[in-house]
């Protein structure tokens, strides 16, 4: 049991950045951004390349953020400048990123085993308590950053854009700019997560991003079920808990005899259940 908790906690924290990213696009901007499966790998690839080139681990994860940011910019460009629909822009960008990621990595994967990593005195793969503490600090910084960012002048405008784009424009908000930064920062967080995971597992792989967006949705919805508050600092906290809770559920499913290949199905079913409960909440309440 302690083992389950430890692994779940670690993986949960690693994916928490994805969930925070998904929260920014899906909830704040009302933009279901499918780029995530691609930008996650782009972030991992950029981090892996940076580490191989001898860049210190901390700088390397920033490369992951930047790569994700650029991947998000691609989707934002397709949607905002070229007027392609939200979902389609994400799918197109995802497809392009598949090729781009392979180019970046020069092959389907990059091994980082025994390379220097984020915490210089540890060797990849990381599975040490120090690594967890380090990770925890990163997540807290990311959470505090988002909480702060969404209360700034720009953050208010970003939220208004997601609330009602046409009304936002009548409050002198350039919704092209707010959407661009929202999508780009969201994917930056996803890329950061990809880079960290590459370091923790010791490799970057072209297929590591498959289903990450669904994982993000599942963790987001699990987390949101933990509170009725709509205060942003509360929500960012519960969705991080949701990311950890999600890993606990997955771990239990594995112990119950499901195979690793079944997990995407389980994940998607969690999302379906969350969506159905969400849309029926008010009717369930009337029934009481």
């Amino acid at each position: 049991m302690a083992g389950i908790l430890f692994t779940s906690f670690e993986l949960g924290l690693l994916y928490a950045l994805v969930v925070l990213g998904v929260f920014l696009t899906f909830r704040i901007l009302n933009f279901p951004d499918l780029t995530v499966d691609g930008s996650f790998v782009t972030g991992a690839a950029a981090t892996a390349i940076a580490i191989q080139a001898g860049v210190p681990g901390l700088v390397a994860i920033l490369a992951g953020f930047l790569a994700g940011f650029l991947a998000g910019s691609l989707t934002a460009f397709l949607h905002i400048r070229l007027g392609i629909g939200k979902i389609l822009a994400g799918i197109l960008s995802l497809s392009m990123l598949y090729s781009i990621n392979l180019r970046l990595m020069g092959g389907p994967n990059i091994s980082l085993l025994w390379q220097e990593n984020i915490i210089g005195w540890l060797k990849t793969p990381l599975n040490d308590i120090n690594a967890i503490i380090f990770l925890f600090v990163i997540i807290v910084v990311a959470k505090v950053f988002i909480d702060w960012f969404l209360q700034t002048e720009f953050g208010l405008r970003l939220r208004a854009t997601g609330d009602n784009e046409s009304t936002a424009q009548s409050f002198a908000i350039n919704t092209k700019t707010t959407k661009f930064f929202g999508i780009a920062i969201s994917n930056g967080l996803v890329g950061l997560s990809g880079g960290l995971i590459a370091q923790f597992q010791g490799f970057a792989d072209i297929s590591m991003g498959v289903g990450v967006i669904i994982l993000g949705f599942a963790a987001l919805m699990l987390g949101e079920a933990l509170t009725t508050s709509n205060k942003i600092p509360t929500i960012t906290t519960v969705i991080i808990l949701g990311a950890i809770l999600f890993q606990v559920i997955i771990n239990i499913a594995l112990r119950l005899g499901l195979s690793g290949t079944d997990l995407k199905l389980v994940t998607a079913l969690i999302v379906v259940i969350a969506l159905v409960i969400g849309s029926n909440k008010k009717y369930l309440a009337y029934g009481k």
Binding site: T152, G155, L156, R157, T167, Q169, F171, A172, N230
Partner: protein, 270 residues
């Protein structure tokens, strides 16, 4: 004081041009209003009222014509830039405010209208007293609900907040697009009284679309009747005060009768 603070000249908007479904929404529409005037706009459906507002705010591209506000043509600036100096309150209160945000955040958004957004705190501490001072005289108890999500307010309260948001930074032009039409008569009256007070106190140049002829006559110093994309009838100052509902309805009806005549002529032609 310029007599043509807002100058609408030869506005033309044609939907689906050169097709069987061609509709002329604005047909060489021209009128001017002076700074500080409060004009009410009436007209039957499809008279072009909302199209006119959309053209002024920039959410709609015109076929031809020009709109000059305070000596400058505004047609080249995109909607979000025009809204720095043009405010609009819509009919649906959920389109006038940001429903997922708090009352204080909504007011802050309106305060931020005429500046570029930075990374300092959005809801400034020093605005707290100002917001309270603004809300308290309304007598709706809103000053105690600054941290509530605005969605928790009633439709009338939301529209009142929307009015405050539209005028908290005084715009050059205030557009009211049937902003009380979705409210029940009592609340509608109250919101109109607040509207009248805000407009008078701030002296902001205002256009108000309404379906209620009583309101169109009671409020403002000018009445413009739009008919099939043109000014069908206009009354100013004393002339407007002498109007009664029957006059205006007759004007409306005579226009509609003409229109029906046109249609029957068309039918005969076929």
């Amino acid at each position: 004081m310029a007599n043509d603070f807002l100058k609408i000249s030869n506005l033309r908007k044609v939907y689906n041009p050169d097709t069987a479904g061609e509709v002329i929404a604005l047909d060489d529409l021209s009128f001017s209003i002076a700074e500080g005037e409060f004009a009410t706009i009436v007209g039957s459906n499809a008279a072009g009222k909302t199209t006119l507002f959309n053209a002024i705010t920039g959410s709609l591209a015109l076929t031809s014509g020009d709109i000059v506000l305070d000596g400058k043509s505004i047609l080249k600036s995109p909607e979000f830039k025009r809204s720095r100096f043009i405010s609009r309150v819509r009919q649906n209160s959920n389109d006038s405010v940001m429903v997922s945000m708090t009352l204080a955040e909504n007011l802050a958004m309106a305060k931020l209208k005429d500046r570029s957004a930075g990374l300092s705190k959005g809801v400034k501490k020093e605005w707290g007293d100002e917001f309270v001072a603004l809300l308290k005289p309304l007598g709706l108890g809103l000053e105690k609900r600054l941290d509530d999500k605005i969605d928790l307010l009633s439709g009338g309260q939301k529209q009142t907040v929307a009015l405050l948001m539209a005028t908290i930074v005084k715009p050059k032009l205030l557009l009211l697009d049937e902003h009380t039409a979705a409210l029940d008569p009592k609340v509608s009256k109250k919101v109109l009284e607040i509207t009248n007070r805000i407009v008078k106190d701030s002296g902001v140049t205002t256009l108000m679309i309404t379906h209620n002829i009583h309101h169109a006559i009671e409020f403002g110093n000018r009445l413009i009747l739009l008919d099939r994309g043109k000014v069908g009838f206009e009354a100013i100052g004393e002339q407007k005060q002498k109007l009664n509902v029957v006059d205006v309805v007759e004007k409306l009806e005579s226009k509609i009768a003409e229109f029906e005549e046109d249609i029957s002529v068309l039918a005969v032609k076929k």
